[in-house]
Structures are given as structure tokens and as C-alpha cells.
Symmetry: C2
Subunit: 416 residues, 2 copies
């Protein structure tokens, strides 16, 4: 089964909103063996919507539309769809009740524009939206399914999970598709590709696709195969993934879009070790990554973010003379930060970061992007200097990921 | 001038990558009066690329393509473009030198696949990429401009800023376009729309467009107008923005996509007040937002992230008996956290958060999404309870934004 996505809304075309919905939908479709042919983002205008519907690929039998269903005046999709599919809008008493309940539960006043969201096309299957007030609509025409959903991500996701995916699975015999993705860190895309080039060459003959997906600090490698029998696909892709581990295993921190913080969560839970952080240049982002994992309170005690030298001295017992002679971005200071927070918050492990995130503060000797990272544990203290980039956001992110990478190597027994 | 974007890459269609490039490009085009007709994401395959080029709208005179130019084997765009525009690839010695220098500077080994990135179409204008090794390519055909750029965001951005935008401006007479966006917080989209509905009604006759762009915790309201004379457009849009301030000014925290943390940065710098945070449920995210602003070290001293009760007691002087009797998520505890960190890190203002981010940890009395936020300053301590949502990420984000909102009200003199 082949599908297309059409996202409707001027906010995407003028760049005020990043389209995160499409990537999520694409992943969910892939899981059930539906492949995306194309994603189109178009204007919230009658002509554009009609043109997009008229030019759906003959190969696509499913068209998922998001956006253009809000209560405000700039949303016109619903009327256009009713006309396009030759039906009319009628107030749906059940949905109206649901909308009224939605407002009552939240103690908010209901407006006529909210009630109008119960005006729905007579010839569509209405998909109730439990997270908001814009219903989903399922149309069928010329052997194709067209589904319209609101653009608010969690409302769209709720509709996909509860209504759209189950209906697609029910009504179609879907081919098997199997992907496996390994997550690597600490090595660049072309270096990776070179190290595994002979093996990669051999994949084509086996009908296995490979893709490299780089992002700051990590490269994902994805293998995929498509066919009739899922077990056969699994067997052949799994064998190649095993071969990949044999070649570059030490750079692999997990699979299937796991984040480094999730991978580390598992390791910390198993080892029953606790952790704290002392952060200067990462400014809380490292702690945020760690605490973005549900249940992280089982191993994360807390953090001291020491953005000023005074806080480094008073809260982490960094020696003023070392700050004076070596500067805050130095081996001496970052190691004292790691040891200081480990003792203060009484954890088994502590991570510390100190660097020049930029855009200002760089010198010839220590340019923007210079970062020291340290790990303190019962075995002692380990630290390493990095030189990242000129961009503040990327430096913060790469510093936090490098700290997690150091932690992973420690938990793997490869640091000391 | 009308434009289209084509993003090339299977990674977008299988959802492994979110297309952030298009939103950025859209914003840059808008600034120079170029409007986007459509964004398409297509497969990294000859047929799909050719089909997309063949079906560019007759109205579009600019086509910006991103992706498909990396050194690895899954990227085929360059060859397809050379064929499509009837030219051939030839190794460019100047670009080869640039690529070799790029690797030497970084102390990395150069591979043949990297050198092959200097094989470039003879009949295209080559746009040098200072951030990476994949050059941009500028083709012209049938009165249309086609530009191909790498998909790595910062490489694409460098090419757009240094090469593409200046060339577009040079070669075209562009119409004027003027947008102004105000950022609101603390009030929902339909409530806002209702409060300003009469005024909104009046905009159509004035040829001013309005859009509401909600995201967790904030709603952007964007007014826009297009015409010949930029000064006229500015005058009429600015007058309506003034009217908007008169109607809902207390909810507006800034303009033109400013974040709350940026808005607050300006206020803190002017007031010369310093700040610290004590974070439980936000786990460092609040400090991260504050420190994501360049120069934040001028007002941010640091933070104590007290994820465990022990750290709340030992580092923030929270009374064990209050933790025992009221629980960590309570007015008593969050106020002691705020006062504790303010004293400890010696700042004028302190913010504290304590809540149940979820997905676990909720009770009937304190369900997931219950969050206490407190601000301590010389005037005393203020605190407020919130009930957000079931989703952990959104709770963390909304808690941090609510804390920033409280800080803004304090700095505005509206809290005490």
C-alpha cells in the first residue's frame, strides 16, 4: 500500500511552523508496511487543496491530510473537503455533546466557533478526537481513502493511533517491511561508510537498502528490506546487523532511534549506580536529557549548574587559585567540579562540563567550541578536551552528548 | 516571485528525519518577498526527482532543492540533475582543493568518496560550501532557476545566506511583503480569537491577513500584508498591531518569534537583576532555556536541580517535616526551594519548580501534570499551582514556560 501526506496550512509555507507531523506519520505507516510516496505542504486555500487532491499519484491508495481544522477563521479545509467529496456539512449532535463536555471539564467558556466544529460532512466517517475539538474525517472516493485530521500534533497522534491505523490494518492486506536502525556516536558519516564499504557493497545483491542519517554527535545506519514473508526479511536483515556490530560495535550505543539517554537509563538501572551532574557550558541541558527519560529519578539525584565562578567555588569546592591560573575551561576545574558534585550529592558517578559555548568568550588559545568533560567515580576521575563548533546550540548539544558517551563507556567498563 | 521547495531523501519519507530546512528556507524567502507555493518531500530516486522537476508549477520561477548530496552511496541527486539539465559531471580542481583543505584542517583522512564531491556539472554555477564538502549548484532552464543544496541544515543555511539569497535579490524585482507576529502566553487560541473577533473581522476589508499559530504554552498571532510599497504596508500593519496591544497587551511577551527566554534576557539585563533556579520536575530544562540565550552568564548564576528529596534537604534547606507531611509537590516545599536557592546562589530572584511530570507518580489528589511554581525575590515569595497534561515532555516544557511567565510578570511589576 502506498500513501501520500498533504499538510495544509500557510504557517508551514511561511516557515512559522516546522512540520513534525509528517515524520511521525511516516514512521507509523512504515511500521504497518505502508510506504510514503510523497509529502506535500500546501496553502490553506480552496484552489491549492483541490489541486493537491486532483494530483494524488495514481499509485497511492491512502491520502492523509493534516491541518486546517481549527476553530479560527483562517481554517477552511472542512468546507472544501465537503464540496470536493460532494457532501454537505451538518451539525452532529454526538460530537457537539463531546465538544461541550470538553469545555465543561476544563472549566472554559464555549464559543460559537467551537460549536461549529460539530458541523461535519454527512458522507464521511467521523473519527472522534478525544484530545481536542476538531474531529477527523474519513472519505472514500475512486478506490482511494482520504483522511483529514487536525494539525495539532497530539490530537493528530491520538486520531492516528485510535482510529486511522486500526482501520487501515483492518481493510488492507499489507506487504511486509522490516527496518533495523543502529545508532552510532563518536565517528563521522564518511569515516563510517569507508570502514564498512566492502560489506555495504554486498547488500545490494541481497536486496537490502542502507541509509546513513547524520545529526550532531550521532549517525544512524538503517537497513531495510521489503517482501512477502516478515520472518525471512527479519532473518536476512538481522544477519547483516550482526555483521555490522562485528565491524563497528564500539560505536553503536543502541538501536531503533533510541537516544543515548535512554540507552544509559537501561545501563544505570541494571548497574544500580546513581549519578549527578555539574554543568557550566551545558547549562542544565545534560540534566534535562537525563531527566527526559521517565523513571530517571531512580538513578539521577540532581545537579549543580555553576554558571558563575562564585557558584563553582561555593557549591562545588573548586579552588579559586585554579580558576585564577587555569581559567574555568580547564582540566583542573572540570575535574574539581565532577569530584565536588559527586561528593555533595552523594552519587556513585558524576559528570561535569565546562566550555565556551559561544558566540562570544573565545580566545586564541581557547576558541569557541573548546569544552572539557569529566567523569568522577570510585575508580577516580577521567577527563577529556573537545573542540566542537562555532554554534552555541550545537556546542551545548554536542557537549551533553559527549558527556553521555563518556558515561556509557564508563558503564561498559571501557573508561578506566 | 513564487518558489517551490523540493526536499530529497528517503529519510524524510520514512520519518527518520524531521524536515526543519523547509521552515527555515520559507522564512528567509518571505523576508525578501518571495512566497512559497508548495513544499514537496520526495524519494532519493531518479524517477521521483525527474517527476518532481517536470511538475514544478508554471507559476514558480525558483525551485530550491535540499538533500541527496552526501558522500555516501545512497545519494544520487547530482547525477540525476546533470542528466536532467543536459550537462555532465567534471572534477572541479578548485573545489577539490577546498575539500582537501577541509579535511586537512580537521586532521581527518580524505576518502575517494569525498574527492568525488568535486565532480560537478559543467553547465551549472557552482556555489562553494564553506561548512562542508557538498557544493551547491545553480541551474537555469525555461526561465526558471533551480538550486540544489546539501540537506545538512547548517551547510544549507550557509549556502543560502552567502550565495543563494544575494543572487536572487540581485536578479529579480521583488514585491514588498510585511509580516508582524506577536507572541502571547497564558491564554488559549479560541479564547484569544473570541476576545478580538470584532477587530479581526475588520482586517479583511483592509487586505490584512491574520493567522493563529498555537504551540504548548504560547499562541503566535501573525498579521501580514503584501503590495508595492513597503512603507504603506508597514504603516497599516503596525496600526493594527498597536490596536492588538490595546486589546490583549498583558498576554503579549514579545514579537517576531522571540522566545520567552529572549524576552526575559532583555528585561534582566536592563534591570541588572540576577537569577537562579531550583528545579525538580523541570530537571534542568528551565536553566537550559535561560542559558540557551547568548550572554546569559550576565544574569544567571546557576541552579540546583534537586531530583531527590535528599538533595532538596541537603542543598536547598527544605525542611524534612514539610516533605513528609505535604509531599515534594506542594506550596511549602516549592517555596522553600525558591528561597533556598536564592540564598545559596546569592541572586536577586529565584525560580523553583516541583511537579509530577509523569507518566507515573500521579495520585488521585495530585494527578500527573500537577506542578507548583514559585518565585522568590526581595519582596517575598509568590507561588502558584498548575494542572498541565499527561505527557511528560509537554509537562516539562509547559512548567518551564510558566516559570518564565511568572518571572516576566515579576519584572513587569505585576507579581507583587
Amino acid at each position: 500500500m502506498l500513501a501520500e501526506i498533504i499538510t495544509i496550512g500557510d504557517e508551514i509555507l511561511i516557515g512559522q511552523t516546522v512540520d513534525t507531523n509528517s515524520a511521525w506519520i511516516a514512521r507509523e505507516l512504515n511500521k504497518i508496511g505502508v510506504s510514503l510516496l510523497r509529502i506535500r505542504s500546501i496553502k490553506d486555500e480552496r484552489e491549492s487543496i483541490v489541486e493537491a487532491l486532483d494530483t494524488v499519484s495514481p499509485d497511492a491508495s491512502l491520502v492523509l491530510m493534516t491541518g486546517g481544522l481549527g476553530p479560527t477563521r483562517d481554517d477552511i479545509t472542512k468546507k472544501v473537503l465537503a464540496d470536493y467529496f460532494n457532501t454537505e456539512l451538518k451539525r452532529d449532535p454526538e460530537i457537539l455533546q463531546r465538544i461541550e463536555d470538553f469545555f465543561i471539564q476544563r472549566g472554559r467558556d464555549i464559543l460559537e466557533s467551537n460549536r461549529m466544529q460539530a458541523d461535519l460532512p454527512v458522507d464521511a466517517i467521523i473519527l472522534p478526537n478525544l484530545m481536542g475539538t476538531a474531529s477527523g474525517m474519513w472519505f472514500e472516493k475512486d478506490q482511494k481513502i482520504f483522511v483529514s485530521m487536525p494539525g495539532v500534533p497530539y490530537e493528530m497522534k491520538g486520531l492516528m493511533e485510535r482510529e486511522v491505523i486500526p482501520r487501515i490494518k483492518e481493510n488492507n492486506e499489507l506487504p511486509s517491511i522490516y527496518y533495523r536502525t543502529v545508532m552510532t556516536e563518536g565517528v563521522g558519516e564518511s569515516f563510517l561508510a569507508d570502514r564498512i564499504s566492502d560489506w555495504e557493497e554486498s547488500l545490494t545483491a541481497k536486496n537490502i537498502s542502507i541509509a546513513y542519517l547524520p545529526s550532531p554527535g550521532t549517525v544512524k545506519i538503517r537497513l531495510g528490506a521489503k517482501g512477502e514473508n516478515l520472518e525471512d526479511l527479519k532473518k536476512k536483515v538481522d544477519a547483516e546487523i550482526e555483521s555490522l556490530y562485528a565491524q563497528i560495535g564500539s560505536h553503536i550505543f543502541g538501536e531503533n532511534d533510541i537516544s543515548q539517554e535512554d540507552a544509559i537509563a537501561d545501563m544505570l538501572l541494571k548497574s544500580r549506580l546513581s549519578i549527578s551532574t555539574a554543568e557550566s557550558c551545558t547549562g542544565g541541558y545534560l540534566a534535562h536529557l537525563i531527566t527526559s527519560v521517565p523513571g530517571s529519578s531512580a538513578y539521577f539525584n540532581g545537579s549543580v549548574i555553576s554558571y558563575s565562578n562564585e557558584v563553582k567555588i561555593s557549591q562545588l569546592n573548586v579552588r579559586p587559585e585554579d580558576l585564577e591560573s587555569n581559567g574555568a575551561v580547564s582540566k583542573e576545574v572540570v575535574e574539581q567540579m565532577a569530584k565536588g558534585v559527586r561528593k555533595k550529592l552523594a552519587t556513585d558517578i558524576a559528570l561535569a562540563t565546562s566550555g565556551i559555548a559561544g558566540p562570544d568568550g573565545g580566545t586564541e588559545e581557547k576558541p569557541v567550541g573548546t569544552v572539557w568533560i569529566s567523569l568522577a567515580a570510585k575508580e577516580g576521575v577521567f577527563s577529556k578536551q573537545f573542540l566542537f563548533e562555532k554554534n552555541r546550540d550545537r556546542n551545548i548539544r554536542r557537549s551533553a552528548l559527549a558527556a553521555l558517551s563518556m558515561l556509557r563507556r564508563y558503564l561498559d567498563g571501557r573508561l578506566f
